[in-house]
């Protein structure tokens, strides 16, 4: 019955109202991918400006805008959503669930992120983008003229709310929705990292929420939190931002650790080495991640005691991180390694990330940081961990889970070109930046004089960026070619070990016809070793309860989007802006109210239909 009434409506309507975690995963991936291209374009513009000394391609304020939008877009609109894309696509399958705990909230989280991202980027066409850096330090951000920073505040506020909901959703999903036998210590590592990342989101994002509110109040309603003339204190912003900001970098990197752990184990045909140590290290990193924020503020003048404590705490994180590196290497040791593209990205990740970790520990030496701080050395460090770590991990995950998400296998030959151009390009871009930093090149400056001798390394760096661009273009070509050919693959193309490979292709709407019984770590592999073709079911075939689609999340997000505009223009437009605020918030609240008012019990898929359908798709 449900399928019949779903088919009546258009495909577009289905995507706009979907609450299916698989589709939401794709929505996240595609929109995150789009913003990745936007952020990438901005990066290329930056590199063109810095290619030679005293270039005039992109100067002054415009450079500041491009720089700010590059960082903000990459972190909040590219990396975070792509991670959420994988979490959506994979976590419910890995734990043997039929959906996430709150499908409605899941859809709301996506649409909030999406409209937040659009709002932020509209600033380009509406008088100029934010220009105070992705960290938006006060008083630079509070005194920045125009509405750029207002777009930053409202865009991130809306997108951030979506992220927070996503975090809670995945925590509950992982705690409550695991299949029988899937104990915590049998969860695949990607699910573990998704779990810890969600916990970090829960405790870190509210700090950002407040920070953004304060900044908004300061800019729009003339509050005085950060204005020293009125007794305010600009350092408060730095604390709040980094109390959120440092956990944020672990929010980003932990899922990449998870992906690497899955890929390395699968393509070494071995169980992950030191699974429990990996879990422990993940949790420990998550915990320590909250104790180190002031390492971004060594030069602020917090005093030697505070600096020492934060320095030691920061260095301590290198220990669980090191544990992980060794475990990946030992997983490969003696394994039957297959260098598929997914595995190439994972293997490339390991040494690259180590380099980023080493510079991290160097930066953690507080006295030395007085030299490195705000120089290109820091830029090199965080790109090694974010691009060399996170982005390589995401590419690895893409090649690995593409068959699961789209039923198609990305082309391996193009994939290898993708890897090598991107990987070489990456090191070419960012390795020289360490030395530029040590030579004294400050970050965020739009140019440098000829006599400083920074020209040749900068030039090399820009050439590297060209390679990375080529790599990205090859990836896009790969996607196009793959979908043009459209050759379906089986449900388990890699000889997988975990539950997401135990289902047919394409993944049925309800994921598992029968909830599987999990008998250990690498649940599918255990069955394979026992000679079973399928997972042992934990229940007989029966009716399946599924959530209903809803358009409310979309409308609610549009409401907040409109209100966002109102707040942005409130200080200059007055009454019309106020109307936008009232109308927007009204729509948002009305949707919430409707959600509460209309009873929504979901629907059932009936046993007979399920059995018929199951015959059709065959594994």
């Amino acid at each position: 019955m449900s399928n019949a009434h779903a088919a009546n409506k258009s495909v577009l309507w289905d995507w706009l109202t979907t609450v299916d975690h698989k589709k939401i995963g794709i929505l996240y991936l595609v929109s995150g991918g789009f913003f990745f291209l936007v952020g990438g374009l901005e990066a290329v513009l930056i590199r063109i400006q810095l290619m030679n000394p005293e270039m005039t391609f992109l100067t002054g304020n415009l450079y500041n805008q491009v720089l700010t939008m590059h960082g903000t877009t990459m972190i909040f609109l590219a990396a975070m959503p792509i991670i959420f894309g994988f979490m959506n696509a994979v976590v419910p399958l890995q734990i043997g669930a039929r959906d996430v705990a709150f499908p409605f909230v899941n859809s709301l989280g996506f649409w909030l992120f999406f409209f937040g991202g659009i709002l932020l980027n509209l600033s380009w066409f509406l008088g100029g983008a934010p220009d105070a850096g992705w960290t938006a330090y006060a008083p630079l951000s509070t005194t920045s003229t125009g509405h750029g920073v207002d777009f930053y505040v409202l865009g991130l506020q809306i997108a951030g709310a979506g992220t927070l909901m996503g975090g809670i959703n995945f925590l509950v999903t992982i705690i409550n929705m695991r299949a029988p036998g899937m104990t915590f210590m049998r969860m695949p590592l990607f699910t573990w990292t998704a779990f810890v990342t969600s916990g970090l989101i829960l405790f870190a994002f509210p700090a950002l929420t407040i920070g953004l509110f304060l900044l908004m109040f300061e800019r729009v309603f003339e509050a005085n939190f950060f204005d020293a003339n009125m007794g305010g204190n600009a350092i408060i912003w730095e604390h709040i931002f980094w109390i959120f900001g440092h956990p944020e970098v672990y929010i980003l990197i932990l899922p990449a650790f998870g992906i690497i752990s899955e890929v390395v184990a699968t393509f070494s045909r071995k169980r992950l080495f030191g699974y429990s140590a990996m879990v422990f290290a993940t949790v420990l990193i998550g915990f320590l991640g909250f104790m180190v924020w002031a390492h971004h503020m060594f030069t602020v003048g917090l005093g030697p005691v505070a600096n020492s404590i934060f320095a030691v705490a920061t260095m301590a994180i290198a220990i669980p991180t090191g544990v992980k590196i060794f475990n990946w290497v030992f997983t490969m040791w003696g394994g039957k390694i297959r260098f598929t593209t997914a595995n190439l990205f994972s293997v490339g990740f390991i040494p690259t990330f180590v380099m980023g970790g080493v510079t991290g520990v160097m930066l953690a030496v507080a006295p030395a940081d007085y030299q490195y701080h705000d120089s290109y050395f820091v830029v090199a460090h965080f790109h090694y961990v974010i691009v060399g770590g996170l982005i390589l991990g995401l590419f690895s995950g893409l090649y690995y889970w593409y068959p699961r998400m789209f039923g198609l296998m990305l082309n391996e030959a193009l994939g290898k070109w993708n890897f090598w151009t991107f990987f070489i390009g990456f090191h070419l871009t960012f390795f020289p930046q360490h030395f530029l930093g040590l030579m004294g090149m400050p970050r965020r400056y739009f140019t440098y004089p000829e006599e400083f001798g920074l020209g040749s390394l900068n030039f090399i760096s820009t050439i590297g960026a060209v390679f990375m661009t080529v790599g990205t273009i090859i990836f896009i070509i790969n996607v196009v070619v793959t979908h043009a050919k459209g050759k379906k693959v089986s449900g388990d193309p890699w000889d997988g070990r975990t539950l997401e490979w135990a289902i047919p292709n394409p993944t049925p709407h309800y994921n598992f016809l029968q909830t599987p019984l999990v008998r250990g770590l690498d649940a599918l592999w255990i069955e394979k070793m026992a000679g079973n073709k399928k997972m042992t079911p934990a229940e007989p075939v029966g009716d399946i309860h599924m959530p209903n689609n809803s358009v409310l999340p979309l409308f609610m997000s549009i409401g907040f989007f409109i209100a966002g505009f109102g707040f942005i223009y409130y200080s200059s437009a007055g009454a019309p802006a106020l109307i936008a605020i009232i109308v927007g918030l009204g729509i948002g609240l009305a949707c919430m109210f409707l959600r509460s008012w209309i009873d929504d019990h979901g629907h059932h898929l009936h046993k007979e239909d399920l059995l018929k359908e199951d015959k059709g798709v065959d594994a």
């Binding site: 809670i168 509950v172 405790f203 929420t209 509110f213 509050a223 709040i240 109390i243």
Partner: protein, 206 residues
């Protein structure tokens, strides 16, 4: 049994708010949400503590705070926590009428708290303590206002719940909704206890 079906005394489960998977999910999700809210308020408190003696152009905290009125507001809000406890006790025993009555009293108390708070703010503004009079003013109104906003939201929430479910009994679908409201209300109360201490008592002492 259907989740929308009215519960009878015979089939009434021990914890109707957690009897279904949806209920369990909501219950856990809401606790986690309150964890996030804790960080939210902690950040506001931190900011307030950093700025509480930076009065700028406004008057000092000890000059303007009227403890008797704030004390009355505190008592009102604490009492409303108690009434919501009674409501939940009734919920657990399927006494719908009593439950709804207690929630209604909770709502009235919440509204009177809000009334007092608005009155208080108006007084302060007359005395020159405003949102823009200095860092202290900004931090004060933001922290206390955020809390007030939470009370307001809670009032709207319970109103919607009471109206929607008027004439309906308890079901496995609406029991978690009532229960979560009570949790939320307690949280808002606990935050107030901290505000009372950190903002008003400490402010009076200087």
């Amino acid at each position: 049994m259907d989740v929308g079906e009215r519960l009878t005394d015979q089939n009434f489960p021990e914890s109707p708010e957690k009897a279904t998977l949806e209920g369990k999910n909501k219950f856990l999700g809401f606790w986690l949400f309150l964890g996030g809210e804790t960080v939210l308020f902690a950040t506001l408190f931190g900011t307030y503590l950093g700025l509480r003696n930076s009065f700028g152009k406004g008057p000092e905290a000890s000059e303007i705070f009227q403890l008797p009125m704030v004390f009355a507001a505190t008592i009102i809000l604490l009492t409303s926590s108690l009434t919501s406890v009674y409501a939940v006790l009734a919920l657990k025993e399927n006494r719908v009428k009593q439950m709804r009555r207690w929630f209604f009293i909770t709502l009235l108390l919440g509204l009177s708290f809000l009334g007092l708070e608005i009155y208080e703010f108006v007084e302060y503004v007359h005395e020159g303590h405003t949102f823009t009079s200095g860092a202290f003013g900004s931090a004060f109104y933001t922290l206390v206002g955020f809390h007030g906003g939470h009370v307001l939201f809670g009032c709207l929430w319970i109103t919607a719940l009471l109206v929607r479910n008027s004439g309906r009994g308890l079901t496995l679908y609406n029991a978690p909704k009532y229960y979560l409201f009570a949790l939320y209300w307690h949280f808002v109360d606990v935050v107030w206890v901290f505000i009372f201490t950190v903002v008003y008592l400490m402010g009076k002492v200087g």
